[in-house]
Amino acid sequence: VRWLVLVGLLAACDDEGEAPSYLITGPRLLAVQAEPPAVIPGGLVTLRALVVDGDASQAAPPMAWRVCSPWVTVRDPDRDCVGPDALALATAADGSAVLDTAVTAAYFGAGEVPAPAGCEAVPVMVIATAEIDGLRLVARKEVRVRAAERRNPGIARVTLDGAPAERFAPGREYVLGAAPVAELEDRRCTGDDEPGRPFEDVRFHVYVDGGELSNPHLDVEYEDDGTQVVEVERYTAPDRRAPVDMWVVAIDGDGGTAWRHLVLTSE
């Protein structure tokens, strides 16, 4: 472990010059949303994907969806989630798909698996594939089957220096903030259903096609007494006049996902 720390420091030096993960320079499959993210046994889940590229603000490429066998550990989707170990889902015109947990359980012979109780969840692995500009993008999403449904979070606002993120001055550094939609927040599952228990933490992942971020994500966390702790980061706008595309993806503790696309114009 001690060497890992030292080696990590050395390796960090090697990363200079490498494009950071938050910088969108080409087609990316950025997020997958399951609605709802946690579903009761036999329920339906609608799956959507966020695909972006480096030029247009958002793309809508052909999507393909499949569910993986619960009996196989998925290390490589193209090896472990194919053939009889995969169940293809029909893709709608808007690129979404519907996962029927009852059909899935029957297909993989998981009908005898006991229904989860309390806060327990049975993970169902979904693979999303998109083709864009000859590039194949693959993402994995975990849908949870549990005793009670959960909700996706919402993004109430994204701010630069406290104001709505709409405009930027080239080269200027801003304090970047984000907040969840309070009405959409679920309380943490603790098994005792106490009404006063804190909400789930939400992490906001930020992607841009220009500028620099001090950290690619910021957290909104809740103490045990319910106190909200909001983290902010710094965003340095690019030295250009062209608009900046910014995508914010919110993930909560149950895999709930939401995203928001903003176009920042220069002052």
Partner: protein, 758 residues
């Protein structure tokens, strides 16, 4: 008196049957001052009925000595007599101690020194301590010089850890005067725990060691400390870019004491260079040895040594309310023991109880682990000369209390994520290991054939297991200069206490074992030195390997199958911190290879070329994957060429070149996106199928001596990686694994130091 002793030695050491072969046998030696390493001229050397006097360079040749091992007696004015053993065709280094005023012995023979007879051992490797001081690339550190010897794999970043004949670092043991040393090097491999100036000798046995040592399935390094000189008080000091040390020795209460202390000051330098980050890495060590009495009448030796490493990062809070992130790494140990030994009338006795304390801590804020060990050990040996050979036996055992304090957001087991699970575990175990061993050495055919059978029986407390390890070494003297030695033996090693953790370890874990075989040829080259080559094969069984694995890709690093820096780091720290994995004794390994060494030991230039062809393979849990893969430190080719030359009376220069095959790693063949973690996951390519580029490094060194009446001052510049070559030590990828880059090794690293020797 001198002549009287010499006459007795001539009579005793002249067996009649060997006379016919005398004309073709000679014994070469160099007589040096043990303290300064300088040659001693005019010393009378007597062996096997032949005597000769050393020349100005300390060299002496005794032509016509009998076959087999012979007693060697060295007598010189101003020095204590030296009685040791030698063999024709094997160059000897005879280190003499100056006569002490009112010295501890006060009798004829005080200390046995010089090279031990090798006929009863498979080929081993040593580096004369005084030579280490001018060895390029080792920074005057004797133990770092071990890594230039055959059979030793290169460890990335110059980190510590001995990988001997493809065995894991945890499978080899290091002993100092019979006391097992838990950690050989200070953090980062900057320096070893014991200063070179206080060492008398060191010997590397990469495999096939005798029954005297147990509880290891790899190799052994045996270090011997140097007794202080009792004639008068003297002090010495050394200062380099990294650390400073001081030592003193002299008479005390009728005996001789030597003490030393060393401290690094990297912390102060780096703190000044990076004021925003409080960075405090530092190490210190201390040594004490006190000798009273003589070996003939019974000598008491008190030995204590300690090592303390601390690495600490404190990220200062930028504003009120920000958390203060701290990282703390502590590695410290202390050992103390008292040895009584006597060597008289062919009977040598030694008994040594020791106690110690270890602490290993690594914490981020309060999360992390602290492990403490409290070992109490006893070693007792007896050796009796018998019919040209000897009988030996002994017992050694230890009682260790191991405790740990583990806390933080960690998973309950390998492959299971913590998911914000805060946990804390405390525990302690007692483990007792004991062994009894016996071995004998007989010479047949006028000493041309030596046979050494041995047997060791151990009880391992943690696994409640009794194991018996028979070992056999046979030596043939093919000619006066050529010896062939074969060895075969069984070796066992108890499980690590961390692997038996009641929460996620396996309490049914048992000992691992190895069968080691080797055949070595040693050739003495007159007026030059020696050459040796060894073939070896080792089969390892019952290795503890992870029996539960998570879904983490091997290409992501950190697992055994990942290879690269992550897997090697795990190998290096496994014994100290434990892996806290569920393991079963289902692993197997095999290693084989060829070691070659050509060494020049005489003249103004000395050095060696060491080449090792070594293959080491492992098989993990066959239920998960029955295939064999290269060991993470499998390096088929390792070549070290080293030369050090005295160009004038004051100047000495040296260079070392090292070449080693790159370590294996598992490449990433692609990636996919984990939408829940918002991060890419690698897709494995073939397991451990690629290798890092070959390692090549040049080290150079320049020494300048000033000899004055009040002592000697030595200034040195040791330039490691003199060409500033950016060797690859690991693999890193960009965020989506589409581009690969190498983690580079250390750049050019100068080590400048000045040493004062009285």
């Amino acid at each position: 008196m001198i002549r009287w002793i010499a006459t007795i030695a001539i009579v005793v050491g002249a067996p009649a049957p060997a006379l016919a072969q005398r004309a073709e046998r000679s014994l070469e030696a160099v007589v040096v001052d043990a303290a300064s390493g300088q040659p001693v001229a005019g010393a009378l050397v007597v062996a096997g009925g032949v005597e000769a006097t050393s020349g100005g360079d300390g060299a002496v040749v005794l032509a016509g000595v009998p076959a087999g091992a012979v007693d060697v007696l060295v007598v010189a004015d101003g020095y204590e007599e030296l009685l040791t053993s030698g063999r024709a065709g094997r160059p000897l280094r005879l280190a003499l101690r100056k006569v002490a005023d009112g010295n501890v012995a006060g009798v004829e023979v005080i200390e046995i020194s010089g090279d031990a007879p090798l006929a009863d051992e498979p080929p081993t490797y040593d580096v004369p301590v005084e030579q280490v001081r001018t060895l390029p690339g080792s920074g005057s550190d004797a133990l770092k010089a071990l890594q230039s010897l055959p059979g030793v794999a290169r460890v990335p970043f110059g980190l510590g850890g001995l990988v001997l004949r493809g065995s894991s670092p945890r499978d080899s043991s290091v002993f100092l005067d019979g006391i097992e040393v838990p950690i050989l090097y200070h953090f980062g491999g900057l320096a070893s725990f014991f200063p070179t100036a206080m060492l008398d000798s060191m010997e590397l046995m990469p495999g096939s060691f005798g029954a005297r040592f147990g509880r290891a399935i790899g190799g052994i390094v045996e270090l011997r400390s140097r007794a202080g000189q009792a004639d008068r008080w003297r002090g010495a000091a050394e200062m380099s870019l990294v650390d400073a040390s001081a030592r003193a020795e002299g008479p005390l209460l009728g005996g001789a004491i030597s003490v030393g202390v060393r401290r690094s000051y990297v912390d102060a330098v780096l703190a000044a260079a990076a004021p925003d980050l409080t960075l405090a890495p530092r190490y210190l060590d201390a040594q004490l040895r006190y000798d009273l009495g003589s070996e003939r009448r019974g000598r008491w030796t008190l030995l204590a040594f300690a090592s303390d490493d601390l690495l600490r990062f404190v990220d200062e809070p930028e504003a009120a309310g920000d958390d203060e992130d701290t990282f703390r790494y502590v590695s410290r140990f202390v050992r103390a023991g008292v040895r009584w030994q006597r060597d008289r009338d062919g009977l040598a006795l030694s008994i040594m109880p020791t106690v110690g304390y270890d602490e290993s801590t690594i914490r981020f804020d309060e999360d992390g682990i602290t492990r403490e060990n409290l070992p109490i050990a006893l070693r007792a040996d007896v050796k009796r000369s018998w019919s040209g050979g000897y009988l030996a036996g002994g017992v050694d055992g230890q009682l260790v209390r191991s405790s740990f304090d583990l806390g933080g957001e960690v998973g309950p087991g390998p492959g299971v994520m913590g998911d914000d699970v805060e946990m804390r575990r405390l525990g302690a175990t007692w483990a007792e290991d004991g062994g009894v061993w016996a071995e004998g050495f007989v010479r047949l055919w006028n000493g041309g054939l030596g046979i050494k059978p041995g047997l060791r029986v151990d009880h391992f407390g943690l696994s409640d297991q009794v194991v018996a390890d028979p070992r056999l070494t046979i030596s043939h003297e093919l000619s006066s200069r050529v010896t062939l030695t074969e060895s075969v033996g069984l070796y066992h090693q108890p499980p690590a206490s961390a692997d038996l953790d009641p929460a996620w370890g396996n309490q049914d874990l048992r000992a691992s074992r190895s069968v080691q075989t080797s055949a070595g040829l040693q050739v003495a080259i007159p007026d030059f030195g020696e050459a040796s080559t060894t073939l070896y094969y080792q089969a390892l069984g019952d290795l503890p390997v992870d029996a539960v694995t998570g879904a983490t890709a091997a290409a992501d690093g950190g697992s055994v199958q990942s290879g690269g820096v992550g897997a090697i780091s795990r190998e290096l720290t496994d014994e100290q911190f434990g892996s806290y994995a569920y393991r079963e004794n289902v692993g197997r390994g095999r290693s084989y290879g060829l070691e070659m060494l050509v060494r020049r030991r005489v003249g103004d230039w000395q050095g060696w070329v060491a080449y090792t062809y070594a293959r080491a393979k492992r098989r993990g849990d066959p239920r998960l994957d029955p295939r064999w893969y290269p060991y993470v430190l499998d390096q088929p080719h390792v070549l070290t060429a080293l030369v050090s030359a005295r160009i004038t009376h004051h100047w000495q220069i040296g260079a070392r070149v090292r070449l080693a095959t790159g370590n294996p790693f598992t490449p990433a063949a692609g990636s996919y996106y984990d939408a829940d973690d918002q991060a890419y996951e690698p897709v494995d390519g073939p397991i451990l199928s690629e290798r890092l580029p070959d390692f090549v490094q040049l080290d150079v060194r320049v020494d300048r001596n000033w000899r004055r009446s009040w002592g000697t001052v030595r200034l040195y510049l040791d330039l490691q990686n003199a060409t500033n070559r950016l060797n690859a030590e690991g693999v890193s990828y960009n965020y989506d694994y589409s581009r690969k880059d190498y983690t580079r090794g250390l750049p050019i690293f100068p080590s400048i130091g000045v040493e004062y020797v009285p």
